[in-house]
């Protein structure tokens, strides 16, 4: 049978070496045979080989099934994405490659079959060490990871040694060069394991991480998986098509290996180089090497693809059309992926290309690896597991069930996942890919199960059932105890409302292999939420011990983790393999109790990046939380006075529920639906004709404009619901004036939002680049007019102090100014009980105007050197201050009464 390669069968098709059954060495009974007599070697050996194949493919199917499970829980399972990728590549693909490369090597070299027990031991060694690597990375201890990686490297080396020894003294054949692909691949896997182990144990450090990771990805995907696939296709492709091998196959295979293997070596050296020799000068050389190597690899793939295309043209009806299409599609995706990869590295720096490489993952995993597995197994499984042409055809028919639909679904899925389409498209892609994969796995298990009577022991169903349920239980336990998908955490945070007492949100950023702050101290009993943002080019997540986990975050993405009430110290870390070991950890310390005023600082020892102004109080709204989606800050810009001298304004009193602090909605009593009410602006002598309508159906309201002088009796009277009056006043004097509701209790009416500003420009007011109006006031949460709320007003213990009605709104939506611009801040203190000490951090006021007079003008003071730091206003006073912003930066502005500032009366001027 061994010489069959050269013997055309009657139908003119060639019998190719992979169809050989390993019935001992050529000429049976020679030295090195399986030891049995020539009689035993036939059926028994074949039966033995089949059961080994079935078991090996059950392993492949098992790994692939686990990969699907891990992929199904991307947000809940720790390191789920890593796990899914490695279960497929390191589990399923590696097992398949080890089994088949040995099988094909024997066939193509016409070599004696290696000792079965050792073959089994090697395969078991590879699988056990792969399982070890996966478990070790999941568990996390670097020593364990290193040990598992070392074991895997040993197993791979054993595989390599066998491949090399098979070649010695073997007869060799036309396809012998293909075995060189397998040897190169084994070397690539060994290198990939070393790089991966270095990454996973955290030994790479922050600097070398990106470089080593890219090298790892390339050497494993293009080397360990790409090379054997390319090599095997030289033989498998014509076999599946049922045609002769192209005459140029042997030299082409040699050339392609030189191009791809050599190119990959150069490319991986270039990718890993920056980890060894960093620096901008070297970076250029490394990048050139990467691009050159990838170009060579792409050229190799192109040469191979051209040969295969030529094979097709001479073709007839394929043996397995389904297998042929899958193989063709996978070769297509490989080509597309390699070319895209090349373009990425040619046009971007390695760090920038990394994101692009990430987006190629579905292409390689599904389009190339999964599809080549599907194509190869569709053809090969019937060959090795079924006896006789009839059974073979039957098995093939099972594996080819609905192949067009599966092929279309899988390839459409890859396209949907790879192309930059909106979210639903990707979801559809995932569903399609999962459907195609599950369908094929089901068919594989069916085919393997057909041989169940002969091969699978009666224990197998018990083991399979137990394993499946154990996996499902483990997943359920992980989901129960573990992570928080982005959506659900956000949803759970929505119910905070006004009762957010004792909740604290701390902003946490992930960058440079660090979690910052790396330590957070909060009083025991605090409900803690972490707003986690990735500020790194590479992806990270944050897992809290016994708590939630974010999904993997790309640069700039933010997720909120709800840790619940803190009863003890907790630890957090990034679950990306190696990152925890490299130092991406977070300590959360529960200190003392929340009593004693509950105003312990939320920031930890490392809270150095300027959060001081945003640290919230122990009680009151959670100011570092996010505003609801769709929230807009109130525009603080103040428009210039209109040209007209008579201003007619309609003012409707209404109740409105508005977001007054992040995530906190409050029923407000308003002029015109907003608190503060609409701003009126004019010049000295202007007439304001305000039509006040009380649209509030529940109570009476009035208005009092400080800017005009008149007898209060009629215009300031209380309007019952539905009534209206016209309030007419002439602004005789300049200033920043308050207006407010004139109905008792004014404490309640003003405390619930009924106030606003009237700006009357002083004659000769200088032009400035920008003008803002900030009305300061207190915020009282709770049902308006309720005993509890009124009690807080009486005691002057507001829930927050605010500018323009909303706590911390300009911290979230800064005022934007350009460097060098001159800015005038108009400020009115609406109270009802507290004034304001307005200060802009990082600037000095050169002009201060307060209550109708300039307190300071440029050139005042000794030698014109006077400056001012605060515009201080008692309740119901108003004025402005002017300053110039010297340089770009973030200038916080505050009510310098720090109780007020920390409880909402702060914002930021962003100067660009």
């Amino acid at each position: 049978m061994s010489g069959a390669e050269h013997t055309p069968r009657p139908d003119g098709r060639r019998r190719l070496p992979l169809l050989q059954q390993p019935a001992g060495p050529p000429g049976d009974g020679g030295p090195g045979g399986s030891g049995g007599s020539a009689g035993r070697s036939g059926r028994a050996a074949r039966q033995d080989m089949r059961s080994r194949q079935v078991r090996a493919h059950l392993l492949v199917a098992g790994w692939a099934g686990l990969a699907l499970l891990a992929a199904a829980a991307p947000d809940t399972l720790p390191v789920a994405r890593w796990l899914a990728v490695h279960l497929l590549l390191l589990g399923a693909a590696t097992t398949a490659i080890v089994v088949w490369s040995e099988h094909f090597a024997v066939a193509m070299l016409h070599a004696p079959v290696p000792d079965r027990r050792w073959s089994t031991a090697r395969l078991a060694g590879v699988n056990v060490s792969v399982a070890g690597v996966l478990l070790a990375v999941w568990a996390g201890p670097p020593a364990l990871i290193a040990a598992a990686c070392a074991a895997l490297a040993v197993a791979v080396t054993a595989h390599l040694v066998v491949l090399v020894r098979l070649g010695r003294g073997a007869l060799g054949g036309r396809l012998a060069p293909v075995v060189a692909y397998y040897r190169a691949a084994a070397v690539a896997l060994a290198a990939g394991v070393v790089a991966g182990g270095t990454l996973a144990t955290g030994s790479a450090g922050a600097a070398g991480h990106t470089a080593l990771r890219l090298a790892h990805v390339h050497v494993t995907l293009l080397g360990w998986i790409g090379l054997p696939v390319l090599g095997t296709l030289f033989m498998l492709w014509p076999t599946v098509l049922g045609v002769r091998m192209h005459a140029r196959t042997t030299p082409t295979a040699r050339r392609v290996l030189a191009l791809t293997g050599g190119g990959l070596t150069v490319a991986v050296t270039g990718l890993a180089g920056p980890a060894v020799l960093p620096g901008p000068g070297a970076a250029v050389a490394w990048r050139a090497a990467t691009v050159a190597g990838l170009a060579a690899y792409a050229a190799g793939v192109a040469v191979a693809v051209r040969l295969w295309a030529a094979t097709v043209r001479r073709g007839r009806k394929a043996v397995s059309v389904a297998a042929a299409w899958s193989l063709a599609a996978s070769a297509g995706w490989l080509t597309a992926g390699v070319v895209h990869d090349l373009v990425l590295f040619a046009t971007r720096s390695p760090a920038a290309a990394q994101d692009g490489v990430e987006s190629l993952v579905p292409l390689f995993l599904l389009g190339f690896v999964a599809q080549v597995l599907i194509g190869a197994l569709t053809y090969l499984l019937p060959v090795v597991t079924a006896v006789g042409p009839k059974a073979r055809a039957g098995s093939r028919a099972v594996l080819e069930r609905a192949w067009q639909a599966r092929l279309a679904a899988l390839n459409l899925a890859v396209a949907l996942l790879v192309l930059p389409l909106p979210g639903p498209a990707a979801t559809l892609g995932v569903v399609l890919a999962a459907g195609a994969a599950v369908a094929f796995l089901g068919l594989v298990v069916t085919v393997l199960g057909r041989r169940a009577g002969a091969v699978v022991t009666p224990r197998a169903p018990v083991l399979i059932g137990t394993a499946a349920a154990a996996v499902a239980t483990a997943l359920a336990v992980l989901v129960a105890g573990g992570g928080a998908g982005g959506g659900t955490t956000t949803a759970s945070g929505a119910g905070t409302g006004g009762a957010a007492t004792g909740t604290r949100t701390v902003a946490v950023s992930l960058h440079d292999m660090r979690v910052s702050p790396s330590r957070i101290e909060v009083p025991r009993g605090t409900a803690l939420r972490l707003k986690v943002t990735n500020r790194d080019a590479q992806r990270h997540d944050l897992r809290i011990e016994d708590g939630p986990t974010t999904s993997l975050l790309s640069d700039g993405q933010t997720r909120t983790l709800d840790l619940g009430t803190l009863t003890g110290d907790r630890k957090g870390w990034c679950t990306v393999p190696g990152h925890r070991a490299a130092g991406m950890t977070l300590d959360i310390a529960a200190t003392g109790t929340a009593d004693g005023g509950g105003r312990t600082a939320a920031q930890g020892a490392e809270g150095h990046d300027g959060h001081s102004a945003t640290a919230s109080e122990g009680s009151g709204p959670d100011l570092s939380a996010d505003f609801s989606a769709g929230w807009h800050s109130r525009d603080a810009a103040l428009a210039p006075a209109a040209g007209a001298t008579v201003h007619r304004i309609g003012l409707h009193v209404r109740q409105r529920t508005v977001e007054v602090a992040p995530g906190v909605r409050q029923r407000m009593w308003t002029f015109g639906g907003i608190a503060p009410g609409p701003t009126l602006r004019g010049k000295v002598g202007d007439v304001f004709e305000v039509t006040l309508v009380n649209d509030d159906t529940t109570m009476g309201h009035g208005v009092d404009f400080h800017a005009g002088a008149l007898s209060p009796d009629a215009p300031m009277r209380t309007l019952e619901p539905g009534e209206r009056l016209v309030y007419r006043f002439r602004a005789e004097r300049a200033g920043a004036w308050l207006y407010h509701c004139s109905t008792a209790s004014m404490l309640q009416h003003m405390g619930n939002g009924m106030y606003g500003a009237v700006i009357i420009d002083p004659p000769g007011l200088d032009e400035v680049d920008r003008e803002y109006l900030l009305v300061s006031s207190e915020l009282y949460l709770g049902t308006p007019g309720s005993a509890a709320q009124v009690e807080k007003m009486r005691a002057d213990t507001p829930d927050a102090w605010v500018f323009n009605g909303v706590a911390a709104q300009y911290a979230k939506a800064p005022l934007r100014v350009r460097a060098g611009e001159r800015v005038r801040f108009w400020v009115v203190a609406a109270g009802p009980s507290d004034g304001v000490a307005f200060h802009v951090v990082g600037t000095v006021f050169d002009t201060v105007y307060k209550e109708g007079a300039y307190v300071l003008r440029p050139g005042d003071g000794a030698g014109g050197s006077g400056g001012s730091q605060v515009l201080d206003l008692a309740v119901a006073q108003g004025g402005f201050a002017e300053t110039e912003f010297p340089a770009a930066g973030h200038y916080p502005f505050v009510d310098h009464d720090m109780r007020h500032a920390e409880a909402g009366a702060h914002g930021v001027v962003e100067v660009r």
Binding site: G449, A452, V456, A460, P461, V462, I464, G465, T466, A468, A469, A470, A472, T473, A476, V477, V479, A480, G481, A484, G485, G487, T488, A491, S492, G547, P548, D562, L563, G564
Partner: protein
């Protein structure tokens, strides 16, 4: 039923726990005691008939009694505790319950498929599914014990 110790909700919970006990215990008894003995003691034909009958009876019991009782009492307890769909995603009680419900659904699916596989004369698959259902049920009990007892 006098006194405050055993009220309506204790009875509901009792029914829920007892139902789970009977379902898991029944599966264990069937697969560890009854069926192995039947395999050993009965002739091949009787054995298959016995196994099929025993399976069908247990399946009917499941569908007619166990499932309605568990779903009814489970839903009532959840309602009593103020569980909402949204709260199933929240860390702590909600998520444990959500995971438990998910696993329970998987177990029920495996049990149903077991019956189907048996009817289609796929003994290996049927056996694997039966074992999966049993082990999965133990997982459900595990998650149930993880629910904070409040």
């Amino acid at each position: 039923m006098g006194g405050g110790a055993v009220g309506l909700w204790q009875v509901v919970r009792f029914l829920h726990v007892t139902g789970a006990m009977v379902w898991v215990g029944g599966q264990l008894a069937l697969s560890l005691v009854v069926l192995p003995l039947a395999r050993r003691l009965l002739a091949a034909e009787d054995r298959d008939r016995f196994a099929a009958r025993a399976g069908r009876r247990f399946g009917m019991l499941t569908g007619a009694v166990f499932l309605p009782v568990q779903l009814g009492t489970g839903w009532a307890i959840a309602w009593h505790k103020g569980v909402t769909w949204a709260s199933l995603g929240e860390p702590g009680y909600g998520r444990v319950l959500g995971a438990k419900l998910g696993l329970f659904a998987v177990v029920m699916l495996a049990a149903a498929l077991h019956g189907w596989a048996h009817a289609r004369a796929r003994p290996e698959l049927a056996r694997a599914l039966a074992v999966a259902s049993l082990v999965g049920s133990l997982g459900v009990v595990l998650l149930a014990t993880a629910l904070p007892a409040t």
